[in-house]
């Protein structure tokens, strides 16, 4: 499990987990699960497009998650946010269907992009993952106070000069960055499990924002480590364990909060 070829996997997965856990804290308090689900999924055609044009897949992912952010913010100005999210998502996925029909790369590649391929992380992949992760965390640190204020109470934020619309756009951009970083490792569909499960459990355990955010990062790391270990042992896809363990963490958090309310 800790052979040479697995070292990069552990490093990359840990980086992804920390970032997803930290960003996930804001996903949960903003109630932005749908956006956190839609951005990775709509970024995934970017990799197919990049493959078609012959550029670095990461560039494609960044461009498409950027398009996702633009689509959601633009459409949300005229209608409701969930509709904006759903429609941007299907538009970008539609493009994905087109690109996939144009590439010769087919089955394995689609599967890896959707569900991840943790065992194939090369040295060259680690650099961008670390860089994008660092940028995402740095943005969260810089934005922490205004973003927290705007998430908890948009009205109070506006009164103090924090634009809710700007915070929404910045927040979505951070999710997009984290997405582009995590997608090649854990896949489009499960970046999101890592953003939602650990953070919701952490929120149930503590009321203090900073502790909850750090705790979320920690739970996320443990989830990913356990998932990789289980995947290695069973030879089943890592996504199964990430999704399952995230659901368990959420359930545990809910039970803890429930027990706390009843003074147990």
């Amino acid at each position: 499990m800790f052979e040479d070829f697995m070292v990069n996997t552990w490093i990359a997965a840990t980086l992804v987990a920390v970032v997803a856990g930290i960003v996930g804290f804001f996903v949960v308090i903003r109630g932005a699960s749908f956006a956190a689900h839609a951005l990775p999924l709509s970024a995934f055609p970017g990799a197919a497009a990049a493959n078609l044009v012959g550029v670095n897949p990461l560039l494609g992912l960044l461009v498409f998650s950027g398009l996702g952010v633009a689509g959601i913010s633009q459409l949300a100005r005229r209608g409701r946010r969930d509709l904006a999210t759903a429609l941007s998502l299907v538009m970008l996925l539609g493009l994905g269907a087109l690109f996939l029909s144009r590439t010769t790369e087919y089955f394995q590649a689609v599967y890896a992009l959707l569900f991840g391929e943790v065992l194939g992380v090369s040295n060259a992949d680690l650099g961008p993952v670390a860089l994008l992760g660092a940028v995402s965390v740095a943005l969260i640190v810089i934005l922490f106070r205004p973003l927290l204020l705007s998430s908890v109470s948009p009205e109070l934020g506006e009164a103090r000069g924090v634009s809710a619309r700007l915070m929404e756009a910045l927040f979505l951009s951070v999710v997009a960055l984290a997405t582009a970083m995590a997608l090649p490792v854990v896949g489009a569909l499960l970046v999101f499990s890592l953003m939602v499960g650990p953070a919701s459990a952490a929120r149930a355990l503590t009321n203090r924002p900073l502790s909850a955010m750090l705790l979320s990062g920690a739970i996320s790391v443990v989830t990913v480590w356990a998932a990789i270990a289980l995947s290695f042992i069973s030879d089943w896809p890592v996504g199964l364990f990430v999704g399952g363990l995230s659901a368990l963490t959420y359930g545990a958090g809910r039970s803890w909060a429930w027990a706390g309310e009843r003074g147990l």
């Binding site: 949960v28 109630g31 699960s33 749908f34 956190a36 689900h37 839609a38 999924l41 459409l75 005229r78 209608g79 409701r80 946010r81 969930d82 509709l83 999210t85 759903a86 429609l87 998502l89 299907v90 538009m91 996925l93 539609g94 493009l95 994905g96 269907a97 087109l98 996939l100 029909s101 144009r102 087919y106 089955f107 394995q108 689609v110 599967y111 959707l114 569900f115 948009p154 896949g187 569909l189 499960l190 999101f192 499990s193 939602v196 499960g197 919701s200 089943w236 896809p237 996504g239 199964l240 364990f241 990430v242 999704g243 399952g244 995230s246 659901a247 959420y250 809910r254």
Partner: protein, 307 residues
């Protein structure tokens, strides 16, 4: 230019005689009508995410069907209904909590999909299960699937017909509905199960992850154009069928323009939906009102009840 030439320009030869096209048109229309009708309620209730999640989770059933060689529609259906029930059974009173539950169920369901697709891949490497399940392959639907698809569609429409008044009331104003004795939670559960039926139908048509387009797109367009729910439902069904048939036609014709490679039907349908929505959202009557009173996320639109 005479009519004959114009028609043959519009419809490439063989369009009306092709068996796969006919099957695609029938199943596509059924999926579009059911999705349009169910979609209007989904949009009013602010459950786009749940609708999308049901599709995602149902893909686990679709991929299991590939593995065990059972009817894919039944696979999508079984998993979708299971997901609908688990989402409703976890008690969540606040909207943000409901979102989280939806997200967590989605994550777990997708994990299961990952497993089945992986097993599909390792046990039979020739089938393009991942692509078919996620993006659909409408021209490859066997004609034998038509009766079951129509049955599922009819069941969903019948359920909506029976539940119409209490469902509408509990969607527009849950508190008022509760006061009038409507079992709001039961309505929520039954409704999600109907959404699962609609989603399963469109999953075999445009694929699991794009079924959201047929569910939300036509309904959102219709609710921009018509404020009365009854009219919006009718309009959504019509728009749904129009974009689906339009998409099938464009895709079929595109084989000619692109030298036999063609554009996928899912892409064509989704693009038509998106263009229509973009146009309507720019010009629709709802625009000024929305801008004066921007609705916070999760809040219901002001739809006036019909009569």
């Amino acid at each position: 230019m005479d009519v004959q030439t114009l028609l043959s320009l519009l419809f490439e030869p063989g369009f009306f005689t092709s068996e796969p096209v006919r099957t695609a048109a029938v199943i596509g229309a059924a999926a579009a009508i059911v999705s349009g009708v169910v979609g209007v309620f989904t949009v009013i209730r602010g459950q786009s995410f749940a609708g999308h999640s049901l599709a995602d989770v149902s893909s686990a059933g679709g991929s299991a069907a590939f593995l065990f060689g059972i009817n894919p529609l039944l696979g999508f259906l079984g998993m979708g209904v299971l997901a609908a029930m688990s989402m409703e059974l976890v008690r969540a009173d606040r909207a943000s909590e409901r979102d989280l539950v939806t997200g967590v169920v989605t994550g777990a369901g997708l994990g299961v999909a990952a497993l089945f697709l992986y097993l599909d891949m390792t046990t039979s490497s020739t089938t393009g299960a991942a692509v078919t399940v996620m993006f659909g392959s409408i021209f490859a639907i066997p004609a034998s699937l038509v009766p079951l698809a129509l049955l599922v569609g009819a069941g969903a429409l019948l359920a909506i017909g029976v539940l119409y008044r209490p469902l509408l009331l509990s969607s527009l104003d849950p508190d008022l509905a509760a006061v009038r004795g409507v079992p709001v939670r039961l309505m929520g559960l039954l409704f999600l199960i109907v959404v699962a039926l609609a989603v399963a139908l469109s999953a075999i048509t445009v694929g699991a992850i794009l079924s959201t387009g047929l569910l939300i797109g036509p309904a959102a367009i219709a609710l921009h154009l018509a404020k009365r729910p009854g009219l919006a439902i009718l309009l959504a069904a019509v728009i749904g069928v129009a974009v689906t048939w339009g998409g099938i036609l464009v895709s079929y014709d595109s084989y000619e323009w692109t030298g036999g490679r063609g554009w996928p039907v899912s892409f064509c349908i989704v693009m038509l939906i998106f263009v229509a929505y973009a146009v309507v959202a720019q010009t629709g009557p709802a625009r000024e009102r929305r801008q004066e009173h921007p609705l916070p996320s999760g809040e219901k639109p002001h739809v006036t009840s019909a009569g």
